[in-house]
């Protein structure tokens, strides 16, 4: 391989970027006494800074494949390259300290405080107390937990979602370039899971790790993955591509079957609220505005309802003309509560879900502090869904065409 001749490239080098972060070469795991390999000659590359999702039915070997990377399971044959370096036979403990690891059950150490849990790997690496302490606080901030409140807590004093966040913080502690995540959101209730997924994506934008993510949930794969590897038995790769391409052009009947019906609906997981234009012409008023002024704004707009915001710009109530017509109106209780709010990084699927559950015709988009940004309505979602399909199909046709030309 040419990479062995190259000087050890730093991660910002052009050469470094060309080399995938993780490369598996004919990686095989065969258990003693079993004729069939559990993982059979997997060859794949995981590019730097991307989330690669391994998805497949249970028993397909996706978790085994992941655990071959940090050698919790030792491969029978094949090679593992981390950042161009062959780590197939290096010291496994040293290797694992370079790879963040998050499992579904999280496995926080119950007798360690949150700070001690997060500090485990830095301590193994011989960091000073001061440095570990700073890093712990930094990570707690990053995962959205107040360090002064959470540093000294024990795992039993945390909720499921908080434990999950600490698990991620612990894996990030020594700033490893690679993270392995085995169904990290699998055991969490759907509402919290949705939120944690969104947080995870926001986090990844900041930390830009190379992440190998295992799940059996196609929707999760589509939502989180930069690339998805759909695996069949013995970890054979049925298709390895971007979610867009997998949805538009499934490589085989197996893939088509696996992504299942409702592929158009799944496409809504691919675009985010921030990517589309919000409706901002909806009339709004403050809760403490004078009633005649509120009425005037509603009448002067084309809208049938007006959104009331509190003093910090957070949506509170929807009111229509009839709500405002009464003789004494208390704006704090008039009309309907303003539910169905989404943040810009939510997917269109999330937005649609909010609309359907709240039976409002539109979802309210708010920023991270909860203040009003605009609206996203049903039609916008549908139009976007259609255009994604068209775009990606065209992209694929173009790719095939140019491929044919070079071949010819």
């Amino acid at each position: 391989m040419t990479t062995t001749d190259m000087p050890q490239a730093t991660s910002d080098d052009a050469a470094g970027r060309a080399e995938p972060m993780i490369r598996l070469d004919k990686l095989t795991k065969r258990y003693r006494g079993q004729s069939r390999a559990a993982v059979d000659q997997v060859t794949m590359e995981m590019p730097r800074g991307e989330i690669v999702v391994l998805v497949g039915p249970s028993g397909c070997g996706k978790t085994t494949t992941m655990e071959l990377i940090n050698r919790l399971i030792e491969p029978t044959s094949g090679r593992i390259y981390l950042d161009g370096e062959d780590v197939t036979t290096s010291d496994p403990d040293a290797l694992r300290r370079r790879i963040g690891y998050v499992i579904q059950q999280i496995g926080l150490f119950p007798h360690f405080t949150v700070a001690e849990n997060i500090g485990v790997v830095p301590k193994l690496l011989g960091w000073t107390k001061q440095r570990i302490g700073n890093r712990v606080d930094e990570l707690l901030d990053l995962v959205g937990l107040d360090p002064s409140d959470y540093r000294g807590r024990y795992p039993k004093e945390l909720s499921g979602g908080q434990r999950q966040r600490i698990g991620v913080a612990r894996a990030l502690a020594a700033d490893p370039p690679v993270m392995l995540m085995d169904e990290p959101f699998g055991a969490i209730d759907p509402i919290t899971r949705e939120r944690l997924q969104n947080e995870f994506l926001r986090l990844q934008q900041q930390v830009k790790k190379t992440i190998v993510f295992v799940t059996h949930d196609v929707d999760e794969a589509i939502k989180l993955g930069d690339r998805i590897a759909i695996l069949s038995e013995q970890s054979h790769i049925a298709q390895y591509d971007t979610p867009e391409n997998i949805l538009s052009n499934p490589a085989s009947a197996y893939v088509e079957d696996f992504i299942g019906s409702g592929a158009s609906l799944k496409r809504l997981n691919l675009s985010r609220v921030r990517d589309i234009e919000l409706a901002t012409d909806c009339p709004t008023a403050r809760l403490d505005d004078e009633l005649p002024e509120v009425r005037r704004r509603l009448v002067e707009s084309d809208w049938s309802a007006l959104l009331l915001l509190d003093e910090r710009g957070r949506p509170q109530r929807w009111v229509n003309a009839r709500d405002l017509d009464r003789t004494s109106v208390d704006l704090r209780t008039a009309g309907l509560p303003a539910v169905a709010t989404v943040e810009p990084h939510a997917t269109l699927s999330d937005a649609l879900n909010e609309m359907l559950t709240s039976s409002a015709g539109a979802a309210i988009v708010v920023d991270r502090s909860g203040s009003y940004q605009g609206l996203i309505d049903f039609d916008t979602v549908m139009v976007t869904a259609k255009s994604i399909k068209r775009d990606s199909t065209e992209y694929y046709r173009a790719a095939k065409l140019s491929g044919a030309e070079t071949a010819g």
Partner: protein, 217 residues
């Protein structure tokens, strides 16, 4: 016997009784200390290897079924008289609860915690000392407490092989049956053992508090 007699007995025998109680405590403490080390080691071995587990558990439970009188007597030809045969016999009796609780305690450690620890690159020795043992410790300690309760009582028979302890007081009473002091001796020794047992138990409550990590208390 008038109650006054027992009070008088205590008054005039306070010093020898106290010395015997100290001897009793020391005998139990030494035996439990040895049993803790040996029992933990056997427990870890039984936990790690499925093949040795039934053997270790069977042997340690059989030991507990040997009549104590016989075990003490059997130790004499090998170790002579005095403290050594008493300690050996008591260690053998103390083993089962410690071994069994060590096995149970280690088995109750959440496998996911250990998987996470391995995945983070914590080496096997450190994993045992920092994760497995501290998490199994409350269960191990409960075993040690049961062993201690058993051994405090059995230690009385140690007097039979010239061992130290409050058993001597009881045997003095048995030897002088019929004399006016016989009951006092037996009562003194027995109550002394009860007090020693209660003191040990109180100590274990404190020990449990101070040696159990806060997150799992």
């Amino acid at each position: 016997m008038k109650p006054m007699d027992f009070y008088e007995y205590l008054k005039y025998n306070a010093e020898p009784l106290f010395d015997e109680a100290v001897g009793h405590v020391r005998l139990v403490a030494i035996s439990i200390g040895i049993a803790l080390v040996v029992g933990c080691a056997l427990g870890v071995l039984a936990h790690r290897s499925a093949r040795t587990r039934p053997v270790i558990l069977a042997v340690s439970s059989t030991l507990l079924t040997i009549p104590s009188l016989a075990l003490f007597a059997l130790a004499i030809p090998l170790l002579g008289l005095g403290t050594p045969p008493a300690v050996v016999a008591l260690v053998l009796y103390a083993l089962l609860p410690i071994v069994r609780n060590t096995v149970v305690g280690l088995a109750s450690v959440d496998q996911n915690v250990l998987r996470a620890a391995r995945g983070m690159g914590i080496g096997s020795w450190r994993r045992f000392a920092r994760i497995e043992l501290p998490l199994a410790w409350p269960v191990v300690l409960a075993g040690v407490r049961v062993s201690t309760q058993i051994v405090v009582g059995i230690a009385a028979i140690g007097a039979l092989v010239n061992g130290p302890g409050l058993g001597n007081e009881i045997f003095r009473g048995l030897r002088s049956l019929g004399s006016p002091f016989a009951l006092n001796f037996v009562l003194g020794g027995t109550l002394g053992i009860v007090v020693v047992a209660l003191l040990f138990d109180a100590m274990f409550i404190l020990l449990r508090r101070f040696t159990t990590a806060r997150g799992i208390r």
